[in-house]
């Protein structure tokens, strides 16, 4: 990559490039040799359980924290470079707004920091906040505060936005409004990097998923790469069926398990033949099946396989 004059520095570079990133807090290592990159013009989801190092990573990219090791380039620049400020839009996990500031006024003030801002009123309307424009921030509901913060992240028409758990605490309507905005940003050519621990969000929104745990990348790819093409047959029935006996009736190479109790999953050559075999076996055993369906592995299955089931 050759830079032609200052204005060209960083052009053509990935949205985010992270290599060997380390971040420690005292004796705790939150980020431990993390490496991945986020392409321009796509939505990248950083997925991980609580305490995996998601927020530390995104805050280093935003220039809020300095790394203890490794390199981070944002749009080809050091995250602390002031030239990045107008090009980035940032939505922190919480706060950042004076509690007494009125929603509409605060968004208008932030918009005045940018050369070509979006119309704050139009943005408020888009996110369903028009009726709350004169409400002080502290009187907004959690979801309204989140949406105002999202509005401030995009009002300056940035090239790259960082959203730290953008839909945490939102009701379904607000969540969909947020998803629509993220998709519209991507369609307009904006690069989006978001953290989440909601699988459906990552699966629906993102072009690229980076799963991190204990401060390291444990898997990355498109949602369909991660979930694979493999399909499953799932059904519910009374708990304690003899899975071994069922397996014996199935074609070789199949797998069957009960997880959790009363929920059965069968993997293998999932097709009409397998379906017929399973229903026939259930009929002879006098078992009534409920909710029988064929589906792909979900991202949640992959996530739990990768990061384990213990609570953090």
């Amino acid at each position: 990559m050759t830079a032609v004059g200052d204005s060209a520095v960083g052009d053509g570079a990935p949205a985010v490039e992270i290599d060997g990133l380390v971040k420690r807090y005292g004796r705790t290592t939150a980020v431990d040799g993390l490496a991945f990159s986020c392409a321009r013009g796509v939505v990248t989801a950083i997925l991980g359980p609580n305490g995996a190092g998601k927020t530390s990573t995104i805050e280093i990219c935003e220039g809020f924290r300095r790394p203890d090791g490794g390199t981070v380039r944002v749009l080809g620049l050091d995250p602390a470079d002031p030239a990045l400020k107008p090009r980035l839009g940032i939505m922190p996990q919480a706060g950042g707004v004076p509690p007494a500031a009125r929603a509409g006024e605060w968004l208008r003030v932030v918009s005045r920091f940018y050369a070509h801002p979006l119309d704050p009123d139009a943005l408020l309307a888009l996110l369903g906040l028009t009726a709350h424009a004169r409400t002080p921030y502290r009187r907004l509901s959690g979801g309204q505060q989140q949406r105002l913060s999202l509005a401030a992240a995009v009002v300056g028409r940035p090239e790259l936005v960082f959203l730290d758990e953008p839909t945490a605490g939102l009701d379904p309507q607000a969540r969909h409004a947020c998803w629509d905005l993220v998709t519209a940003l991507r369609d307009a050519g904006v690069s989006v990097v978001l953290t989440t621990h909601q699988m459906d969000e990552a699966e629906r929104l993102s072009d690229h998923v980076v799963v991190i745990d204990h401060g390291r990348v444990v898997a990355e790819g498109t949602p369909s790469e991660l979930t694979g093409a493999e399909r499953q047959l799932r059904f519910r029935a009374r708990p304690g069926l003899d899975v071994e006996e069922l397996l014996a009736a199935l074609p070789p190479g199949s797998a069957a398990k009960e997880s959790p109790s009363g929920h059965y999953i069968i993997e293998g050559q999932v097709g009409p033949q397998l379906l017929a075999t399973v229903t026939a076996w259930c009929a002879t055993e006098g078992v009534t099946t409920e909710d029988l369906r064929i589906e792909r592995r979900t991202l949640e299955d992959v996530f739990l396989e990768l990061t384990g089931r213990e609570l953090r």
């Binding site: 935003e62 220039g63 809020f64 002031p82 400020k85 107008p86 090009r87 980035l88 940032i90 922190p92 919480a94 706060g95 950042g96 707004v97 004076p98 509690p99 007494a100 500031a101 006024e105 605060w106 208008r108 003030v109 932030v110 005045r112 920091f113 940018y114 050369a115 070509h116 979006l118 119309d119 139009a122 943005l123 309307a125 888009l126 995009v154 300056g156 028409r157 940035p158 090239e159 629509d180 905005l181 519209a184 940003l185 307009a188 050519g189 904006v190």
Partner: protein
């Protein structure tokens, strides 16, 4: 989705010119001050009540002369302290606590721009205070005589000194500690800084120390140029300059933005 198509989200980044950012932020800070009941109590209501009360009633012996001529310059100094020091320290302390300073740091508004905005806001609120206090004092019969133009550098250096002290406190202490501390310092300096109680009532040694406080320098300087017909207030200006340089330098070195 239909509403989204009306917004042009294609990237078009760019920072606004510095003056526009500073004015936008200063406007927000002025609105916040004027809407905050406790701030108004501190910056306008208490000074006006003290001005009216101590001018009308013989609560303290101010020596010779009319009481309002003694009290009015002290109240102007108190107004500067209440806004530049107490109000600014408390507001900035909570901005730090609520992540407002950090969030602003992610916008094109630089730290220099933010400090300029805070200065503009403090000076604007002080101008409002000075107008209101002057009108009330004139109504109470105040007749300033002297070199009122010398009041300008005194007020500006006083603002710089008190801002430095306020930011020093806000940038190092927890927000609650700043809230308590800034109010306490306000009360102590109100009592010991010659605002209402003449410093010559204190024993000589104590008085010499008290005269070096920024509030005493501002009060005595203003009293000199507005009441006693004094000329260049060299001593008070020097004291305020020392406080301003020391406090601002220390604040710049120790201020923690988060």
């Amino acid at each position: 989705m239909s509403a989204i198509t009306t917004l042009d989200l294609t990237p078009r980044p760019g920072a606004a010119p510095l003056h526009r950012m500073v004015l936008a932020q200063a406007g927000a800070e002025i609105r916040a001050t004027l809407r905050n009941g406790e701030q108004l109590l501190l910056t306008l209501i208490i000074p006006i009540l003290l001005l009216a009360g101590f001018s009308a009633a013989p609560l303290v012996d101010v020596g010779g002369g009319r009481r309002v001529d003694f009290v009015a310059p002290g109240i102007l100094a108190l107004a500067v302290m209440s806004t530049a020091f107490t109000g600014q320290a408390i507001a900035t302390g909570f901005e730090r606590r609520y992540g407002v300073l950090r969030r602003l740091g992610a916008t094109p508004l630089s730290r220099t721009g933010l400090l300029l905005a805070k200065t503009v806001a403090v000076v604007a609120v002080e101008a409002l205070q000075i107008v209101v206090i002057t009108v009330v004092a004139l109504a109470l019969g105040w007749s300033p005589h002297g070199g009122p133009l010398w009041a300008v550098p005194l007020l500006l250096l006083g603002t710089a000194a008190f801002s430095g002290l306020g930011l020093l406190m806000a940038g190092t202490l927890r927000a609650e500690a700043t809230l308590a501390g800034a109010n306490l310092v306000y009360l102590v300096l109100l009592g010991l800084g010659g605002v209402l109680f003449p410093l010559d009532r204190f024993p000589g040694g104590v008085r010499q120390v008290l005269e070096l406080l920024p509030i005493s320098a501002l009060t005595s300087g203003l009293r000199g140029v507005l009441g006693d017909g004094g000329g260049f207030p060299g001593g008070p200006l020097l004291v305020l300059l020392c406080w301003a340089v020391a406090a601002l330098a220390l604040a710049a070195r120790t201020f923690r933005w988060e």
